[in-house]
């Protein structure tokens, strides 16, 4: 049985890592009262940034490039949503389209129109001494690429920051009652812009994870809806960092079921497995109905 469970757990963490990173960023954005559908575009831009960075400067350069890519999309979102007060949903949709088109065009222009896969330096798994020797879960949880440990550390850090610091309090106040926050002397626009940029960094890192810790290459449109799934995970995790991490794990586990099914000799059309993440997202969102509450000013200004 352990020959099924260990790969299942490893696949769970692998799927959950980029989703959790992106969703943690979106938690910060949404707690400031904004909804950024352009997260999908930020992940894709991050993936492309990782490609450019890694070809020039290895894995570290790749992650730096990924953050730059995510932040570029975030800056555009801030300009439109905060600067011009444009509709957030339409802006986010346009930015996702822009990211798909720009990364595709640049990829073909820089690396040839054939779109042949490039092999990149990848971020190797690092086994944490001791912990990775734990029975059953050790290797799955603690012999992962370093970015996974970054995600582990970000969950409590962001939770602590939001609950226990002045900055976190300002963020939550803005998300619930922007006018009251403004009256209390908080610069609403500034905090929101910073939240958007943080979301861009984490979305970019999610894209970098896909390229540098998983695929080892870039493919056009490789974010394949993960940004939207991450936004759903924010709802499932009730806008709390810990809840979001758990929701990402549940989601990763459910998606990883396909490997378990295949290992157990289950036969079903493979398209069903491919559609599974999206079906699960819908089922999860429907089941989350009425539980947890969105920030009061979400998507409104």
């Amino acid at each position: 049985m352990s020959d099924v469970i260990a790969p299942f757990l490893a696949a769970t963490i692998r799927t959950a890592t980029p989703l959790a990173l992106a969703a943690l960023g979106e938690v910060i954005v949404e707690r400031a009262g904004l909804i950024n559908i352009g997260l999908e575009g930020a992940i894709l831009a991050g993936a492309f940034g990782a490609l450019v960075g890694a070809t020039g400067a290895g894995v570290a350069g790749g992650f730096a490039g990924a953050m730059v890519g995510g932040v570029l999309i975030a800056i555009l979102f801030a300009v439109f949503a905060i600067g011009l007060r444009a509709d957030q949903i339409i802006t986010g949709t346009a930015l996702t389209l822009l990211s798909v088109g720009t990364t595709g065009t640049l990829y073909r222009a820089l690396y040839g129109s054939s779109g042949a896969a490039l092999a990149l330096p990848t971020s190797a798994p690092f086994a944490i001494p001791g912990l990775s020797r734990l029975p059953l879960v050790g290797a799955a949880l603690f012999a992962q690429p370093p970015i996974t440990y970054v995600m582990y550390l970000l969950v409590p850090s962001i939770a602590w920051w939001m609950a226990g610091t002045h900055g976190g309090l300002s963020l939550r106040a803005i998300g619930e009652k922007p006018d009251a926050a403004r009256a209390a002397g908080i610069s609403v626009a500034r905090v929101r812009v910073l939240a958007i940029l943080a979301g861009g960094v984490l979305g970019g890192l999610a894209g970098g994870t896909l390229v540098l810790a998983q695929a080892g290459t870039f493919a056009e449109g490789m974010s394949s809806g993960r940004g939207f799934i991450a936004i759903a995970i924010v709802v499932l995790g009730r806008w709390q960092p810990l809840g979001v991490a758990l929701a990402a794990l549940v989601f990763g586990g459910a998606s990883a079921l396909q490997f378990a099914f295949q290992a157990m000799g289950w036969h079903a059309p493979y398209q069903l497995f491919l559609a599974l993440p999206y079906l699960l997202t819908l089922a999860g969102l429907a089941s989350a109905a009425g539980r947890g509450r969105a920030p009061a000013s979400l998507g409104k200004s």
Partner: protein
């Protein structure tokens, strides 16, 4: 807006487009002159290009553009026109292949099946929103992915052609295909259907009570319910169905008039381009005729650009996204100059998503 003013706006837009294209091409190191000439000759430069390349692509863009406009007007953010199109194409192909003897009656049935399937697919998102409060932005995108994988299963499974070699259905018999317009190359009578439906949608918004209910439900759901005594939930549901039906119809028209068989790549993303089409037209069904033709010309010309000047075809999606952003920026600026004194939180660039 007066005729002169709209003409000026259109000319300014096309000039801006050309400048943006040239700048993008030159920064990419491509021969701008060759590329733009290829764009022109591949899209509008000849009668053949206009009919068989541009207008053939304009038909599904008109229908999906109309689908997006109807939904957005009513405050429904249907990003799922792509999935509704695919489902509509699958339903139409199923009917067309099942009743090859029926001639034009089968064509009608297939079109209806496409519209019903598209409406039903959008209905899932409507149900998820009304019952469980699920944002349709997310649900319709998830449904796009699910539709794509379901289609992939159908053309490799139950609907695959008899020899089981190619991932597609058999060819739809000629008697069921949509008739081509004489002297207009590959252009088919689906164009008239699309124009009629857009005309009807424009009429709906301008002259009917139902259209007014849709608009009010989109602009201000609470005012619609309290002052207008409008059943907002029901009106919103109708917007989902109408939008899905239009997109499903686009799929049916495409399979009956252009591809004659169902396969995975039946849509090059018409449902996503439709968002740009609808926004550029200011969500007005009548103006969609023009914006759909503009985008169809861009998409028809991108193939020629790739062939003659080696310009990546994805450049056109960059242009599309920039156009949406430009429209948003202009609308935001116009709104600001008009009501600088009003409370900014009421800014309706387009209907704000409720809740």
């Amino acid at each position: 807006m007066s005729f002169l003013k709209s003409t000026l706006v259109a000319l300014a837009l096309i000039a801006a487009l050309l400048v943006a294209m040239s700048v993008l091409l030159m920064t990419g190191g491509y021969p701008a002159h060759t590329a733009l000439f290829a764009l022109w000759s591949g899209s509008l430069g000849s009668w053949y290009a206009l009919t068989s390349a541009t207008l053939v692509r304009a038909v599904p863009l008109m229908l999906t553009g109309g689908a997006v406009a109807v939904a957005f007007r009513a405050g429904v953010f249907n990003i799922g026109a792509e999935g509704q199109l695919l489902v509509g194409a699958a339903a139409a192909a199923t009917v067309a292949l099942a009743l090859p003897q029926g001639g034009i009656i089968t064509s009608m049935l297939a079109l209806t099946a496409g519209a019903v399937a598209g409406a039903a697919w959008a209905g899932i998102a409507a149900l998820l929103r009304s019952r469980f409060g699920v944002l349709e932005v997310i649900s319709t995108i998830m449904l796009n992915f699910i539709a794509l994988h379901a289609l992939s299963y159908l053309v490799r499974g139950p609907l695959q052609e008899p020899t089981h070699v190619y991932p597609q259905t058999s060819t739809i018999v000629q008697g069921v295909q949509l008739t081509r317009i004489p002297g207009a190359g590959r252009l088919h009578v689906g164009l008239f259907l699309a124009l009629a439906l857009l005309l009807a949608c424009g009429w709906l918004f301008r002259h009917t009570a139902e259209g007014f209910r849709l608009l009010v439900a989109g602009e201000s759901p609470s005012a619609a319910a309290s002052a207008g005594q409008i059943d907002v939930a029901r009106t919103t549901r109708r917007a989902f169905f109408l939008s899905g039906a239009l997109a499903g119809c686009a799929g049916a028209v495409e399979v009956l008039g252009v591809t004659f068989a169902l396969y995975e790549d039946i849509s090059p993303g018409y449902g996503y381009t439709a968002i740009a089409v609808a926004l550029l037209a200011g969500l007005d069904p009548w103006r969609i005729v023009l914006s759909a033709t503009l985008f169809a010309a861009l998409e028809a010309g991108e193939g020629a650009m790739q062939r003659d000047a080696n310009v990546p075809a994805t450049l056109v999606s960059v242009i599309e996204a920039l156009l949406i952003l430009a429209v948003i920026a202009v609308q935001a600026a116009r709104w600001r100059s008009r009501s600088a004194s009003m409370d900014a939180s009421d800014a309706p660039v387009v209907p704000v998503v409720p809740g």
